[in-house]
Amino acid sequence: MTSLPITLTINGLRHDLEIEPRVTLLDLLRERLDLTGTKKGCDRGQCGACTVLVDGRRVNSCLALAVSHDGAEILTIEGVAQGEDLHPVQAAFIAHDGFQCGFCTPGQIMSTLGLIAEGQAGDDPERIREGLSGNLCRCAAYGGIVEAVLEAQQNMAKSDRRTAA
Protein backbone atom coordinates (compact mmCIF):
# COMPACT_ATOMS: atom_id res chain seq x y z
CA MET A 1 0.00 0.00 0.00
CA THR A 2 1.10 3.55 -0.57
CA SER A 3 2.43 5.65 2.26
CA LEU A 4 0.12 7.58 4.53
CA PRO A 5 0.76 10.96 6.16
CA ILE A 6 1.01 11.01 9.94
CA THR A 7 2.20 13.44 12.58
CA LEU A 8 4.04 12.39 15.72
CA THR A 9 5.59 14.50 18.46
CA ILE A 10 8.76 12.69 19.48
CA ASN A 11 10.77 13.98 22.44
CA GLY A 12 9.02 17.32 22.06
CA LEU A 13 9.71 17.70 18.33
CA ARG A 14 6.93 17.53 15.77
CA HIS A 15 7.52 15.15 12.84
CA ASP A 16 5.36 15.13 9.71
CA LEU A 17 5.97 11.76 8.12
CA GLU A 18 4.84 9.59 5.20
CA ILE A 19 4.95 5.93 6.15
CA GLU A 20 3.76 2.55 4.95
CA PRO A 21 1.03 1.16 7.23
CA ARG A 22 3.08 -1.93 8.12
CA VAL A 23 5.88 0.10 9.76
CA THR A 24 5.96 -0.36 13.51
CA LEU A 25 6.67 2.52 15.84
CA LEU A 26 9.95 0.77 16.73
CA ASP A 27 11.13 0.55 13.11
CA LEU A 28 10.07 4.13 12.46
CA LEU A 29 12.14 5.37 15.41
CA ARG A 30 15.23 3.31 14.58
CA GLU A 31 15.26 3.13 10.78
CA ARG A 32 13.68 6.41 9.69
CA LEU A 33 14.51 8.80 12.52
CA ASP A 34 17.86 7.34 13.66
CA LEU A 35 16.63 7.19 17.25
CA THR A 36 18.46 3.93 17.88
CA GLY A 37 18.38 4.20 21.68
CA THR A 38 15.14 2.22 21.60
CA LYS A 39 16.27 -1.38 21.11
CA LYS A 40 14.87 -4.22 19.06
CA GLY A 41 15.19 -7.35 21.19
CA CYS A 42 12.60 -10.00 20.41
CA ASP A 43 10.40 -7.78 18.19
CA ARG A 44 7.41 -9.77 19.54
CA GLY A 45 6.47 -8.05 22.79
CA GLN A 46 8.24 -10.51 25.05
CA CYS A 47 11.39 -8.69 26.20
CA GLY A 48 10.51 -5.02 26.74
CA ALA A 49 13.73 -3.64 25.14
CA CYS A 50 11.59 -1.49 22.82
CA THR A 51 9.59 0.18 25.61
CA VAL A 52 8.69 3.85 24.98
CA LEU A 53 6.06 6.16 26.45
CA VAL A 54 3.10 6.89 24.17
CA ASP A 55 1.00 9.74 25.54
CA GLY A 56 2.70 9.10 28.88
CA ARG A 57 2.03 5.33 29.01
CA ARG A 58 4.70 2.66 28.61
CA VAL A 59 4.09 0.33 25.67
CA ASN A 60 6.04 -2.11 23.49
CA SER A 61 6.84 -0.10 20.36
CA CYS A 62 7.43 -3.33 18.40
CA LEU A 63 3.71 -4.17 18.68
CA ALA A 64 2.46 -0.70 17.73
CA LEU A 65 1.75 0.30 14.14
CA ALA A 66 3.02 3.86 13.77
CA VAL A 67 0.08 4.80 11.55
CA SER A 68 -2.37 3.84 14.28
CA HIS A 69 -0.69 6.32 16.64
CA ASP A 70 -1.07 9.34 14.37
CA GLY A 71 -1.10 12.45 16.57
CA ALA A 72 0.53 10.81 19.61
CA GLU A 73 3.29 12.15 21.83
CA ILE A 74 6.21 9.75 22.08
CA LEU A 75 9.01 9.84 24.64
CA THR A 76 12.10 7.73 23.93
CA ILE A 77 15.32 7.30 25.91
CA GLU A 78 16.89 10.12 23.85
CA GLY A 79 14.39 12.58 25.32
CA VAL A 80 14.84 11.67 28.98
CA ALA A 81 17.97 13.64 30.02
CA GLN A 82 17.97 17.44 30.12
CA GLY A 83 21.07 18.22 28.05
CA GLU A 84 24.04 16.93 30.05
CA ASP A 85 21.92 16.44 33.19
CA LEU A 86 20.81 12.86 33.59
CA HIS A 87 17.28 12.08 34.69
CA PRO A 88 17.18 10.77 38.31
CA VAL A 89 16.25 7.31 36.96
CA GLN A 90 19.27 7.28 34.65
CA ALA A 91 21.58 8.46 37.46
CA ALA A 92 20.23 5.80 39.81
CA PHE A 93 20.77 3.00 37.26
CA ILE A 94 24.43 4.05 37.04
CA ALA A 95 24.82 4.42 40.81
CA HIS A 96 23.38 0.95 41.47
CA ASP A 97 24.88 -0.97 38.53
CA GLY A 98 21.39 -1.56 37.13
CA PHE A 99 22.91 -3.10 34.00
CA GLN A 100 25.88 -4.97 32.63
CA CYS A 101 25.81 -5.07 28.82
CA GLY A 102 23.28 -2.24 28.66
CA PHE A 103 21.14 -3.55 25.80
CA CYS A 104 17.93 -3.75 27.84
CA THR A 105 18.65 -0.52 29.75
CA PRO A 106 16.77 2.00 27.57
CA GLY A 107 13.69 -0.21 27.87
CA GLN A 108 14.23 -0.70 31.60
CA ILE A 109 14.49 3.06 32.13
CA MET A 110 11.44 3.89 30.00
CA SER A 111 9.49 1.15 31.79
CA THR A 112 10.62 2.56 35.16
CA LEU A 113 9.36 6.02 34.15
CA GLY A 114 6.02 4.42 33.32
CA LEU A 115 5.99 2.44 36.57
CA ILE A 116 6.65 5.54 38.69
CA ALA A 117 3.99 7.53 36.82
CA GLU A 118 1.44 4.74 37.33
CA GLY A 119 2.09 4.90 41.08
CA GLN A 120 1.03 1.31 41.77
CA ALA A 121 4.27 -0.16 43.14
CA GLY A 122 5.13 2.20 45.99
CA ASP A 123 8.37 1.31 47.74
CA ASP A 124 7.71 -2.45 47.93
CA PRO A 125 10.54 -4.23 46.07
CA GLU A 126 8.22 -7.12 45.36
CA ARG A 127 5.74 -4.84 43.59
CA ILE A 128 8.54 -3.14 41.68
CA ARG A 129 9.72 -6.53 40.43
CA GLU A 130 6.17 -7.42 39.42
CA GLY A 131 5.68 -4.03 37.74
CA LEU A 132 8.87 -4.44 35.71
CA SER A 133 8.34 -8.09 34.77
CA GLY A 134 7.80 -7.07 31.14
CA ASN A 135 11.48 -6.09 30.87
CA LEU A 136 13.95 -8.94 30.64
CA CYS A 137 17.64 -8.52 31.48
CA ARG A 138 19.74 -11.38 30.14
CA CYS A 139 22.66 -10.22 32.33
CA ALA A 140 20.29 -10.57 35.31
CA ALA A 141 21.06 -7.16 36.80
CA TYR A 142 17.66 -7.26 38.47
CA GLY A 143 19.01 -6.66 41.98
CA GLY A 144 20.62 -3.37 40.93
CA ILE A 145 17.60 -2.38 38.86
CA VAL A 146 15.23 -2.66 41.84
CA GLU A 147 17.64 -0.67 44.04
CA ALA A 148 17.89 1.97 41.31
CA VAL A 149 14.11 2.26 41.01
CA LEU A 150 13.71 2.64 44.78
CA GLU A 151 16.37 5.37 44.97
CA ALA A 152 15.11 7.21 41.87
CA GLN A 153 11.60 7.27 43.30
CA GLN A 154 12.88 8.72 46.58
CA ASN A 155 14.98 11.35 44.81
CA MET A 156 12.12 12.33 42.53
CA ALA A 157 9.75 12.65 45.52
CA LYS A 158 12.30 14.85 47.38
CA SER A 159 12.78 17.00 44.30
CA ASP A 160 8.98 17.33 43.95
CA ARG A 161 8.77 18.50 47.56
CA ARG A 162 11.52 21.07 46.93
CA THR A 163 9.72 22.32 43.84
CA ALA A 164 6.46 22.58 45.78
CA ALA A 165 8.21 24.51 48.58
Binding site: P21, L65, S68, G114, L132
Partner: protein, 352 residues
Protein backbone atom coordinates in the same frame (compact mmCIF):
# COMPACT_ATOMS: atom_id res chain seq x y z
CA UNK B 1 5.07 -8.51 7.92
CA UNK B 2 3.13 -8.69 4.64
CA UNK B 3 1.78 -5.48 3.15
CA UNK B 4 -1.88 -4.59 3.73
CA UNK B 5 -4.44 -1.88 3.13
CA UNK B 6 -5.15 0.32 6.12
CA UNK B 7 -8.40 2.08 6.85
CA UNK B 8 -9.56 3.96 9.89
CA UNK B 9 -13.37 4.19 9.84
CA UNK B 10 -15.11 6.95 11.78
CA UNK B 11 -18.29 5.07 12.68
CA UNK B 12 -19.20 1.57 13.86
CA UNK B 13 -21.37 0.79 10.78
CA UNK B 14 -18.50 1.84 8.48
CA UNK B 15 -16.14 -0.42 10.45
CA UNK B 16 -18.51 -3.40 10.25
CA UNK B 17 -19.04 -2.91 6.50
CA UNK B 18 -15.29 -2.73 5.87
CA UNK B 19 -14.42 -5.70 8.05
CA UNK B 20 -17.13 -7.88 6.45
CA UNK B 21 -14.98 -7.96 3.29
CA UNK B 22 -12.92 -11.17 3.07
CA UNK B 23 -9.31 -10.84 4.27
CA UNK B 24 -10.08 -8.09 6.80
CA UNK B 25 -8.98 -7.87 10.43
CA UNK B 26 -9.81 -5.37 13.14
CA UNK B 27 -6.92 -3.61 14.86
CA UNK B 28 -7.29 -2.26 18.41
CA UNK B 29 -4.32 -2.65 20.82
CA UNK B 30 -2.60 -4.88 18.28
CA UNK B 31 -0.64 -6.77 20.94
CA UNK B 32 -1.68 -10.19 19.63
CA UNK B 33 -2.49 -9.30 16.01
CA UNK B 34 0.93 -7.80 15.20
CA UNK B 35 2.64 -10.79 16.79
CA UNK B 36 0.56 -13.12 14.60
CA UNK B 37 1.24 -11.04 11.49
CA UNK B 38 5.00 -10.95 12.09
CA UNK B 39 5.02 -14.73 12.40
CA UNK B 40 2.95 -15.22 9.25
CA UNK B 41 0.24 -17.02 11.22
CA UNK B 42 -2.26 -14.54 9.88
CA UNK B 43 -1.82 -12.19 6.93
CA UNK B 44 -4.79 -9.83 6.59
CA UNK B 45 -5.13 -7.94 3.33
CA UNK B 46 -6.99 -5.12 5.04
CA UNK B 47 -6.55 -3.71 8.54
CA UNK B 48 -9.58 -1.90 9.93
CA UNK B 49 -8.25 0.32 12.71
CA UNK B 50 -11.03 0.78 15.26
CA UNK B 51 -9.01 2.72 17.84
CA UNK B 52 -10.68 6.03 16.96
CA UNK B 53 -14.28 4.76 17.01
CA UNK B 54 -16.32 6.92 19.37
CA UNK B 55 -17.69 5.85 22.75
CA UNK B 56 -16.09 2.40 22.90
CA UNK B 57 -13.59 3.44 25.58
CA UNK B 58 -16.15 4.08 28.31
CA UNK B 59 -17.18 2.18 31.43
CA UNK B 60 -20.83 2.88 32.25
CA UNK B 61 -23.16 1.83 35.04
CA UNK B 62 -26.33 0.36 33.56
CA UNK B 63 -29.70 1.78 34.68
CA UNK B 64 -30.94 -1.71 35.61
CA UNK B 65 -27.73 -2.37 37.60
CA UNK B 66 -24.56 -3.93 36.32
CA UNK B 67 -21.80 -2.51 34.21
CA UNK B 68 -21.07 -1.99 30.53
CA UNK B 69 -17.37 -2.02 29.66
CA UNK B 70 -16.55 -0.58 26.23
CA UNK B 71 -14.53 -2.86 23.98
CA UNK B 72 -11.67 -0.36 23.67
CA UNK B 73 -11.11 0.12 27.41
CA UNK B 74 -7.47 -0.75 28.04
CA UNK B 75 -6.75 -3.64 30.41
CA UNK B 76 -4.68 -1.45 32.75
CA UNK B 77 -7.30 1.29 32.92
CA UNK B 78 -10.02 -1.18 33.87
CA UNK B 79 -7.92 -3.01 36.46
CA UNK B 80 -6.78 0.22 38.14
CA UNK B 81 -10.24 1.85 38.14
CA UNK B 82 -10.84 1.88 41.95
CA UNK B 83 -14.61 1.48 41.80
CA UNK B 84 -14.31 -1.36 39.28
CA UNK B 85 -11.67 -3.18 41.34
CA UNK B 86 -13.81 -2.80 44.45
CA UNK B 87 -16.95 -4.21 42.86
CA UNK B 88 -15.28 -6.92 40.74
CA UNK B 89 -12.00 -7.74 42.52
CA UNK B 90 -11.45 -11.13 40.89
CA UNK B 91 -11.68 -9.51 37.46
CA UNK B 92 -9.12 -6.85 38.41
CA UNK B 93 -6.87 -9.53 39.90
CA UNK B 94 -7.09 -11.58 36.71
CA UNK B 95 -6.30 -8.58 34.51
CA UNK B 96 -3.25 -7.70 36.59
CA UNK B 97 -1.95 -11.27 36.51
CA UNK B 98 -1.94 -11.24 32.71
CA UNK B 99 0.86 -10.16 30.35
CA UNK B 100 3.11 -7.24 31.36
CA UNK B 101 2.43 -3.64 32.34
CA UNK B 102 3.36 -2.49 28.81
CA UNK B 103 0.96 -4.93 27.19
CA UNK B 104 -1.85 -4.14 29.64
CA UNK B 105 -1.48 -0.45 28.72
CA UNK B 106 -2.19 -1.29 25.08
CA UNK B 107 -4.40 -4.38 25.11
CA UNK B 108 -8.17 -3.89 25.07
CA UNK B 109 -11.19 -5.64 26.56
CA UNK B 110 -12.48 -6.81 23.17
CA UNK B 111 -9.05 -7.92 22.03
CA UNK B 112 -8.53 -9.98 25.15
CA UNK B 113 -11.59 -12.08 24.29
CA UNK B 114 -10.33 -12.55 20.73
CA UNK B 115 -6.70 -13.41 21.45
CA UNK B 116 -5.55 -16.63 19.87
CA UNK B 117 -4.18 -19.70 21.59
CA UNK B 118 -0.46 -19.74 22.46
CA UNK B 119 -0.07 -23.40 21.37
CA UNK B 120 3.45 -23.43 19.93
CA UNK B 121 2.37 -25.49 16.91
CA UNK B 122 -0.28 -22.92 16.05
CA UNK B 123 2.56 -20.35 15.97
CA UNK B 124 4.93 -22.58 13.97
CA UNK B 125 3.86 -22.28 10.33
CA UNK B 126 6.06 -25.28 9.46
CA UNK B 127 3.87 -27.57 11.62
CA UNK B 128 0.44 -28.93 10.70
CA UNK B 129 -2.31 -27.26 12.77
CA UNK B 130 -6.05 -27.70 12.25
CA UNK B 131 -6.76 -24.39 13.91
CA UNK B 132 -4.46 -22.44 11.57
CA UNK B 133 -4.94 -24.65 8.50
CA UNK B 134 -8.09 -26.80 8.69
CA UNK B 135 -7.53 -30.43 7.78
CA UNK B 136 -3.74 -30.33 8.10
CA UNK B 137 -3.68 -32.27 11.41
CA UNK B 138 -2.81 -31.55 15.03
CA UNK B 139 0.91 -31.54 15.80
CA UNK B 140 0.32 -31.08 19.51
CA UNK B 141 -1.59 -34.34 19.91
CA UNK B 142 1.67 -36.32 19.71
CA UNK B 143 4.05 -33.47 20.39
CA UNK B 144 5.01 -31.23 23.30
CA UNK B 145 1.68 -31.06 25.05
CA UNK B 146 2.17 -30.87 28.79
CA UNK B 147 0.41 -27.46 28.90
CA UNK B 148 -2.50 -28.42 26.65
CA UNK B 149 -6.19 -28.97 27.34
CA UNK B 150 -7.66 -31.49 29.76
CA UNK B 151 -11.31 -30.53 29.22
CA UNK B 152 -13.41 -30.13 26.08
CA UNK B 153 -10.63 -31.09 23.65
CA UNK B 154 -10.95 -33.19 20.50
CA UNK B 155 -8.57 -35.20 18.34
CA UNK B 156 -8.60 -32.22 15.97
CA UNK B 157 -7.23 -29.71 18.51
CA UNK B 158 -6.01 -29.74 22.11
CA UNK B 159 -5.10 -26.05 22.43
CA UNK B 160 -6.17 -23.87 25.35
CA UNK B 161 -7.60 -20.35 25.48
CA UNK B 162 -4.93 -18.16 27.10
CA UNK B 163 -7.02 -15.39 28.69
CA UNK B 164 -6.99 -14.65 32.42
CA UNK B 165 -9.60 -11.87 32.18
CA UNK B 166 -12.20 -14.21 30.65
CA UNK B 167 -12.07 -16.66 33.57
CA UNK B 168 -13.74 -14.48 36.26
CA UNK B 169 -15.88 -12.90 33.53
CA UNK B 170 -17.42 -16.22 32.56
CA UNK B 171 -17.91 -17.07 36.24
CA UNK B 172 -19.81 -13.78 36.71
CA UNK B 173 -22.17 -14.34 33.74
CA UNK B 174 -20.61 -11.70 31.50
CA UNK B 175 -22.37 -10.95 28.23
CA UNK B 176 -20.69 -9.90 24.98
CA UNK B 177 -22.34 -7.09 23.03
CA UNK B 178 -21.77 -7.54 19.29
CA UNK B 179 -22.50 -5.21 16.35
CA UNK B 180 -22.92 -7.01 13.04
CA UNK B 181 -24.35 -6.48 9.58
CA UNK B 182 -27.83 -7.15 10.95
CA UNK B 183 -27.55 -4.93 13.99
CA UNK B 184 -26.69 -5.53 17.61
CA UNK B 185 -26.97 -8.78 19.57
CA UNK B 186 -25.93 -10.13 22.97
CA UNK B 187 -24.18 -13.47 23.54
CA UNK B 188 -23.14 -14.85 26.92
CA UNK B 189 -19.38 -15.20 27.27
CA UNK B 190 -19.96 -18.87 28.07
CA UNK B 191 -21.42 -19.33 24.56
CA UNK B 192 -19.04 -16.89 22.87
CA UNK B 193 -16.02 -19.20 22.59
CA UNK B 194 -16.49 -22.58 20.90
CA UNK B 195 -14.95 -25.92 21.75
CA UNK B 196 -12.87 -27.34 18.90
CA UNK B 197 -14.91 -30.41 17.85
CA UNK B 198 -14.08 -31.03 14.20
CA UNK B 199 -13.84 -27.31 13.39
CA UNK B 200 -11.18 -25.80 15.68
CA UNK B 201 -10.68 -22.94 13.21
CA UNK B 202 -14.09 -21.60 14.31
CA UNK B 203 -13.04 -20.21 17.67
CA UNK B 204 -15.98 -17.94 18.47
CA UNK B 205 -19.56 -17.31 17.38
CA UNK B 206 -18.52 -14.17 15.49
CA UNK B 207 -19.42 -13.87 11.81
CA UNK B 208 -17.39 -11.84 9.27
CA UNK B 209 -17.61 -8.15 10.14
CA UNK B 210 -18.95 -8.73 13.66
CA UNK B 211 -17.45 -6.23 16.10
CA UNK B 212 -17.37 -6.63 19.89
CA UNK B 213 -18.56 -3.25 21.17
CA UNK B 214 -18.82 -3.99 24.90
CA UNK B 215 -18.78 -6.59 27.66
CA UNK B 216 -21.57 -6.42 30.23
CA UNK B 217 -21.54 -7.62 33.82
CA UNK B 218 -24.99 -8.19 35.32
CA UNK B 219 -25.96 -6.53 38.61
CA UNK B 220 -25.52 -9.76 40.55
CA UNK B 221 -21.80 -9.91 39.65
CA UNK B 222 -20.97 -7.23 42.24
CA UNK B 223 -22.66 -9.21 45.05
CA UNK B 224 -19.53 -11.39 45.34
CA UNK B 225 -17.19 -8.44 45.96
CA UNK B 226 -16.28 -9.44 49.54
CA UNK B 227 -15.29 -13.03 48.68
CA UNK B 228 -13.80 -13.27 45.20
CA UNK B 229 -10.37 -14.38 44.02
CA UNK B 230 -8.41 -15.27 40.92
CA UNK B 231 -5.48 -17.65 41.39
CA UNK B 232 -3.03 -18.43 38.62
CA UNK B 233 -0.21 -20.97 38.50
CA UNK B 234 2.59 -20.03 36.13
CA UNK B 235 5.91 -21.60 35.21
CA UNK B 236 7.68 -18.42 36.29
CA UNK B 237 6.72 -15.81 38.86
CA UNK B 238 5.29 -13.23 36.50
CA UNK B 239 4.62 -12.50 32.84
CA UNK B 240 3.60 -16.00 31.77
CA UNK B 241 0.39 -17.67 30.68
CA UNK B 242 -1.48 -19.85 33.14
CA UNK B 243 -0.67 -23.52 33.51
CA UNK B 244 -3.97 -23.63 35.40
CA UNK B 245 -5.99 -20.81 36.93
CA UNK B 246 -9.27 -20.48 38.78
CA UNK B 247 -11.75 -17.75 39.60
CA UNK B 248 -13.86 -18.37 42.69
CA UNK B 249 -16.59 -16.19 44.14
CA UNK B 250 -18.84 -16.90 47.13
CA UNK B 251 -21.55 -15.39 49.22
CA UNK B 252 -21.71 -16.93 52.67
CA UNK B 253 -24.39 -16.63 55.35
CA UNK B 254 -24.22 -18.28 58.76
CA UNK B 255 -21.42 -20.58 57.68
CA UNK B 256 -23.27 -21.86 54.62
CA UNK B 257 -22.64 -21.00 50.99
CA UNK B 258 -25.57 -19.05 49.59
CA UNK B 259 -24.16 -18.48 46.09
CA UNK B 260 -21.03 -19.76 44.35
CA UNK B 261 -19.24 -19.11 41.09
CA UNK B 262 -16.32 -21.09 39.76
CA UNK B 263 -14.41 -21.09 36.47
CA UNK B 264 -11.08 -22.48 35.29
CA UNK B 265 -8.45 -21.12 32.91
CA UNK B 266 -5.70 -22.89 31.00
CA UNK B 267 -7.63 -26.16 30.84
CA UNK B 268 -9.73 -25.88 27.66
CA UNK B 269 -10.20 -24.00 24.40
CA UNK B 270 -12.55 -21.67 26.25
CA UNK B 271 -12.80 -20.20 29.73
CA UNK B 272 -14.35 -23.13 31.61
CA UNK B 273 -17.38 -22.55 33.81
CA UNK B 274 -17.69 -25.29 36.44
CA UNK B 275 -21.46 -25.38 36.89
CA UNK B 276 -21.65 -28.86 38.45
CA UNK B 277 -19.22 -27.72 41.15
CA UNK B 278 -21.26 -24.57 41.78
CA UNK B 279 -24.41 -26.67 42.23
CA UNK B 280 -22.65 -28.78 44.90
CA UNK B 281 -21.41 -25.69 46.74
CA UNK B 282 -24.76 -23.93 47.04
CA UNK B 283 -26.20 -24.68 50.47
CA UNK B 284 -23.09 -26.58 51.59
CA UNK B 285 -21.07 -25.65 54.69
CA UNK B 286 -18.32 -23.15 53.86
CA UNK B 287 -15.43 -25.48 54.64
CA UNK B 288 -12.68 -27.48 52.99
CA UNK B 289 -14.69 -30.70 52.65
CA UNK B 290 -17.23 -28.87 50.46
CA UNK B 291 -14.43 -27.35 48.39
CA UNK B 292 -12.84 -30.78 47.84
CA UNK B 293 -16.16 -32.19 46.59
CA UNK B 294 -16.54 -29.17 44.30
CA UNK B 295 -13.04 -29.68 42.92
CA UNK B 296 -13.78 -33.32 42.11
CA UNK B 297 -16.99 -32.27 40.35
CA UNK B 298 -15.21 -29.52 38.39
CA UNK B 299 -12.67 -31.99 37.00
CA UNK B 300 -14.94 -35.06 36.76
CA UNK B 301 -14.93 -34.99 32.95
CA UNK B 302 -11.23 -34.16 32.60
CA UNK B 303 -8.92 -36.44 30.61
CA UNK B 304 -5.28 -35.91 29.64
CA UNK B 305 -4.68 -34.95 26.00
CA UNK B 306 -1.02 -35.94 26.29
CA UNK B 307 1.67 -35.53 28.93
CA UNK B 308 -0.59 -33.36 31.01
CA UNK B 309 -2.39 -35.60 33.50
CA UNK B 310 -0.71 -33.51 36.22
CA UNK B 311 -2.89 -30.56 35.22
CA UNK B 312 -6.02 -32.39 36.39
CA UNK B 313 -4.75 -32.83 39.95
CA UNK B 314 -3.21 -29.35 39.82
CA UNK B 315 -6.57 -27.90 38.77
CA UNK B 316 -8.34 -29.68 41.64
CA UNK B 317 -5.89 -28.20 44.13
CA UNK B 318 -6.16 -24.74 42.61
CA UNK B 319 -9.95 -24.93 42.83
CA UNK B 320 -9.74 -25.80 46.56
CA UNK B 321 -7.20 -23.06 47.15
CA UNK B 322 -9.18 -20.45 45.18
CA UNK B 323 -12.36 -21.28 47.11
CA UNK B 324 -10.44 -21.21 50.42
CA UNK B 325 -8.92 -17.84 49.50
CA UNK B 326 -12.30 -16.47 48.42
CA UNK B 327 -13.82 -17.58 51.73
CA UNK B 328 -10.99 -15.85 53.62
CA UNK B 329 -12.02 -12.63 51.92
CA UNK B 330 -10.92 -10.34 49.12
CA UNK B 331 -7.50 -8.83 49.95
CA UNK B 332 -7.32 -5.10 50.55
CA UNK B 333 -4.42 -4.58 48.17
CA UNK B 334 -4.73 -5.77 44.58
CA UNK B 335 -3.26 -7.77 43.10
CA UNK B 336 -2.14 -10.23 45.72
CA UNK B 337 1.32 -10.98 44.43
CA UNK B 338 2.43 -14.37 43.19
CA UNK B 339 4.89 -16.24 45.37
CA UNK B 340 8.32 -15.08 44.30
CA UNK B 341 11.67 -16.68 45.05
CA UNK B 342 12.94 -13.17 45.80
CA UNK B 343 10.27 -12.42 48.33
CA UNK B 344 11.44 -11.86 51.87
CA UNK B 345 7.94 -11.14 53.11
CA UNK B 346 6.26 -14.50 53.62
CA UNK B 347 2.56 -14.61 54.29
CA UNK B 348 -0.90 -14.38 52.83
CA UNK B 349 -0.08 -11.45 50.60
CA UNK B 350 2.18 -13.59 48.43
CA UNK B 351 -0.12 -16.50 47.96
CA UNK B 352 -1.05 -16.85 44.32
Amino acid sequence: MRDFDYIRPATIPDAVAAAAQPGSAYLAGGTNLLDLMKGGITSPERIVDITRLPELDRVEELPEGGLRIGALVRNADLAHDPSFAKAYPAVAEALLSGASAQLRNAATVGGNLLQRTRCSYFYDTASPCNRREPGSGCSALHGENRLHAVLGWSEACIATHPSDFCVPLVALDAVVEIEGKDGRRHVTLEEFHRLPGQTPQRETVLEPGDLIVAVRLPAEAASFAANARYLKVRERTSYAFAVVSAAAALTVEGGRIRAARLALGGVAAKPWRARAAEALLIGAPAEEASFLRAADAALAEATPSGDNAFKIELARRIVVRALTSALAGTPALMPALPASPFSNIPGARHDA
